[in-house]
Amino acid sequence: MSRPRWFAVRQELSPTRRRLLGGVAFLLPLLLWSIVSYVPFIWHPNIKVIEPGEVSWMRPGLQIPRADFAKEVATAQAAGVRPPTGERANPIYLPPPHAVGRALYTAFTTAPVLKGDLWLHESLAMSLKTIFWGFLISSAIGVPLGILCGAFVSASRLSEPFIDFVRYMPAPAFGALMVAVLGIHLEPKVAIIVIGTFFQQVLVVANTVRKVDGGLIEAAQTLGAKRRQLVLRVILPASLPDLYNDLRILLGWAWTYLIVAEVVGVSSGITFFINQQAKYRSFDNVYAAILIIGFIGLATDQILAFIGERLFVWKNPRPSRVRRLITSTVARFLPRAPVEEIAPSA
């Protein structure tokens, strides 16, 4: 018996290997970043001045390209004055991992530079609020409309050509218009997210609904289901798990519109925080804020995926062992549908 190979075409990996690779996926970029940050001879294109010597224009902490610094040192030595000293450094826009790691915490505890500006957690709350309303409003109209388009060809022909047309207009292009109509605060930002999400959403939902097995619809018809029942009792439940996944993906989509939405009108939310920090050259905080967006995205997605598995038991013949463990733990607090594993022979 040979050990299973790491690279076998379309072969499943053992759970241990899967987890290992999942960890490496995060560790590898971190490792790369660490090497570039901590090993001086890899990159470090600048010299950070420690002591300016007798060069009048240099200040401690100033960063200069290495070649320029060397020239200054040579000039100073030739003139017989005290040369500056410095150490190799990466540009200020690439802080080392430990600085960003610290910033993940300190970004929350440092007061805003200007009085009246928002703290990081307030900015985040603002962003989440924008996303929440944008996505909710978009879904409240987009999902039912998409289902109608998927179920009825006439609804699809009536709306989809126009939606296809609008879909190609970049949502930020509506920014100025939305500010004129809705003011400068939360409303135009929500509107941008709605515009960015809605049109895609209708098409994606309609497509998913169209993929419902025609056999199920025919079976329901021979069992006496009429039009309304076909939509509500067959098409809707049949496409629900896929719709749920669509919404998960579209939520990620909404996040990408957040950044452009937040510069519309009065700049706000996490984007404002990032821009402010960049202005003060606190790039560690910028990275921290971007990472936090990533964490929030990943966490919501994982939570939604987990809830999805609970909601659609009938869709998941074999949940993974880890999932089953978590599920059974959580199941104690949730109403549970009776499911047993059965051997396929009877």
């Binding site: 199920l216 018809q221 006496g224 009792r233």
Partner: protein, 299 residues
């Protein structure tokens, strides 16, 4: 003894079988297909899938339809179910012309088509709920049907947890629950392995014996047709027409043990002739030449 019988063997019926057919024909006609035709638009003018199909099926009769692939048997059953429209002719159930699908014509599909989000019991309840029956009543009814197909212990399982044979039993229970006049079955056991198929055939006969339902069954399996049917409708392709109607001389109750009886074999030979007339023609051989060493023959 030595007097030559003018009838071919497959038409000879024992007195008991003949009497059964006589009685059957006195039963009321449940379903009548009247000069039914179906054309599809094609690139070179319309293609005739079915032509002039006329058929009367009596109450509690079990009729099988067989034919070569492309003979339109699936089109026929879809038209009967109301899932497709005929281009000519009409269909009557209990003397009334039909239009569109209706629970009076229940259907079992080859692909099971169970609702995956509903448990076995909820699947069976579907037709009852569509008919507006209160759910407690529907549930009690459904439970009976689930018991009847032998799935009592699986009533609360989801379809993905069942084997193919079990799924098809659920589909049968689901189609029977709203009390259809006719049960239409479109190659229902085609996707099952041989063993399960044999089991399902005897299950179906049992169900049919105990339930007041008329069955129209489509298959391409000759043995299956003989084992199940009172009458076998043989279709031919291009265009799909009724080739011959055979009253199966095999006595009831049927079982797989009858496979070797002379009546069974005679019927089978006749069906073979009708369906595969050119099986030994030279065109059935591949234009292949020897690619192995001499002396390394397998036959």
């Amino acid at each position: 003894m030595s007097t030559p019988d003018p009838l071919p063997e497959y038409l000879r019926q024992s007195p008991a079988v003949a009497e059964r057919f006589a009685k059957l024909k006195q039963r009321p006609v449940v379903m009548e297909i009247d000069h039914l035709g179906r054309q599809f638009p094609g690139a070179q003018g319309p293609v005739t899938a079915l032509r002039d199909i006329s058929l009367k099926i009596h109450r509690r009769e079990l009729v099988c339809v067989i034919g070569p692939s492309g003979c339109g048997k699936s089109t026929l059953i879809r038209i009967i179910a109301g899932l497709d429209e005929p281009t000519s002719g009409r269909m009557l159930v209990d003397g009334k012309e039909t239009s569109g699908p209706s629970p009076e014509r229940g259907m079992v599909f080859q692909g099971y088509t169970l609702f995956p989000w509903r448990t076995v019991k909820q699947n069976v309840m579907f037709g009852l709920q569509m008919a507006g029956r209160p759910s407690s009543e529907a549930e009690a009814d459904a439970r009976q049907w689930v018991d009847l197909v032998g799935l009592r212990n699986f009533a609360d399982n989801y379809p993905h947890q069942l084997s193919g044979g079990m799924k098809q039993r659920v589909a049968i229970a689901r189609a029977l629950a709203p009390n259809p006049r006719v049960l239409l079955m479109d190659e229902p056991f085609g996707a099952l392995d041989a063993q399960t198929r044999a089991q399902m055939q005897s299950h179906l006969l049992e169900i049919w014996r105990n339930v007041d339902v008329t069955i129209l069954f489509i298959t391409h399996d000759l043995d299956e047709a003989i084992l199940l049917a009172d009458r076998i409708i043989v279709l031919k392709a291009n265009p799909g027409e009724i080739h011959e109607v055979i009253e199966v001389p095999v006595p009831r109750p049927r079982s797989l043990d009858q496979l070797q009886t002379p009546e069974f074999q005679a019927t089978r030979r006749r069906l073979d002739e009708l369906i595969h007339p050119k099986l030994h023609a030279p065109s059935e051989h591949l234009p292949i030449t020897r690619l192995t060493q001499i002396g390394d023959d397998v036959e």
